[in-house]
Amino acid sequence: MTLGEGGNHSLMDVATAIDLLAPRLSPAATGARNVRRLSGGASLETWAFDLSDGTPLILRRRPDGALPRETALPLASEAALIRAAAAAGAPSPGVAHICEPGDQLGEAYVMHRLEGETLGRRIVRDEAFAAVRPGLARRCGEVLAQIHATPTDHLPPLATSDARGELARYEGVYRDLDARRPILEAAFRWLEAIAPAPPERPVLVHGDFRNGNLMIHPDRGLVGVLDWELAHLGDPAEDLGWICVNSWRFGEWRKPVGGFGDYAELLAGYGGYISLDRVRFWQALGSLKWAVMCLMMYQSFATGADRSVERAMIGRRTSEAEIDLVTLMEGAA
């Protein structure tokens, strides 16, 4: 992929800018090496590099001209939240630097590169993680309790949402797509009827806490919570429910928490009282949201915004969320 066209930063531009920034990232560093692009969505790029003193780092940056996703936070806010959650005790990558205009990197920040694995399939199956898997669900509960205990007074501006608000927002998106999916129609009405009242005190919700966004070390377990761009203020049960959505169990469907643990372990780790019913409500809403997201991503193929076979195919993952919703509705009937 050529990044140098259309005003975008090329590998050379990014490598040069990082090299110049290096002395500010570590006093012992004179430059940077091994600059490489790890992934690139349309809305966010991730780059890995090493300082000349050996420090392994990650750069997250918004591609030039890319509009942030409607619900995604500015990267400076994301970095501020990682710092705040880390101060509250949650394992995090550690933010090294929030980029300024003079850094020539656009909207971006630098964080430490953690050692471990984020690929869910490996975390639920590989022998390398057999030792840490049994304690992982409880640990996820503990870490969510830390994130939710982050003081909210001095956080960057965040949206506040609750169950009814999320349902209405996603139903609006679904209506705009003009799809005819009876399972989703039924799920909207079912969840609307049982939606819990807003929490007494909205907490910092990570918004995408699932197997796939957690850095897992083979010996030390959960060492970092990644991808904070959907963080907001809301119902703590939202995060507990999202990690139980079957789509992130990677085939290990009998283990509801991320494909590696049970509800009771997650709730025991969390401590403070949250009912299993409330978690299961948010899990079901999570499957419904995932169904609508799959349809939205397909829509970018249909409108011609992204004609890749990947965008077309993601639409066919709507049915995985639908079958999970049917199981949940059957269980409730």
Partner: protein
């Protein structure tokens, strides 16, 4: 008919990918190549099972709604009834139809998905 995407759209996307020239060692192309293989597998399963599934769904919808019509019309009618509250989301006959629909579509889209086993094991896990 399965939509979002339809089989025709999926076939178009695969054909467009096949027409692209790959640069050796291009990781993105290698990834998309696996996605295209999955798409071809879906198209093969849909060609085999799609018409039967649609006929069965149309018959179920006719029974459920007490109406006659083609799949698109009846499916639309069911969506409207759910939206307006004419059918309760946890109605047993509705759920039987939705269950059969979900099982039929996952058999085409993603037959190894764990949610199928979870649904068939009746109330467990998911």
């Amino acid at each position: 008919m399965i939509t979002h995407p339809t089989a025709a759209e999926l076939a178009q996307a695969v054909a467009a990918f096949d027409a692209e020239v790959a640069t050796p060692g291009d990781a993105r192309h290698a990834f998309l190549s696996r996605v295209a293989d999955n798409a071809r597998a879906i198209l093969a399963r849909e060609a085999e099972q799609g018409a039967t599934l649609e006929a069965e769904a149309t018959a179920r919808l006719g029974d459920l709604l007490g109406e006659t019509g083609d799949f698109e019309a009846l499916n639309h009618q069911l969506c409207e009834a759910l939206r307006r509250g004419g059918i309760s989301p946890l109605d047993a006959r509705l759920l039987a139809h939705l269950k059969a629909t979900a099982i039929g579509q996952i058999a085409i889209d993603q037959p190894t998905y764990g949610g199928l086993a979870a649904l068939l094991s009746a109330g467990g896990g998911a």
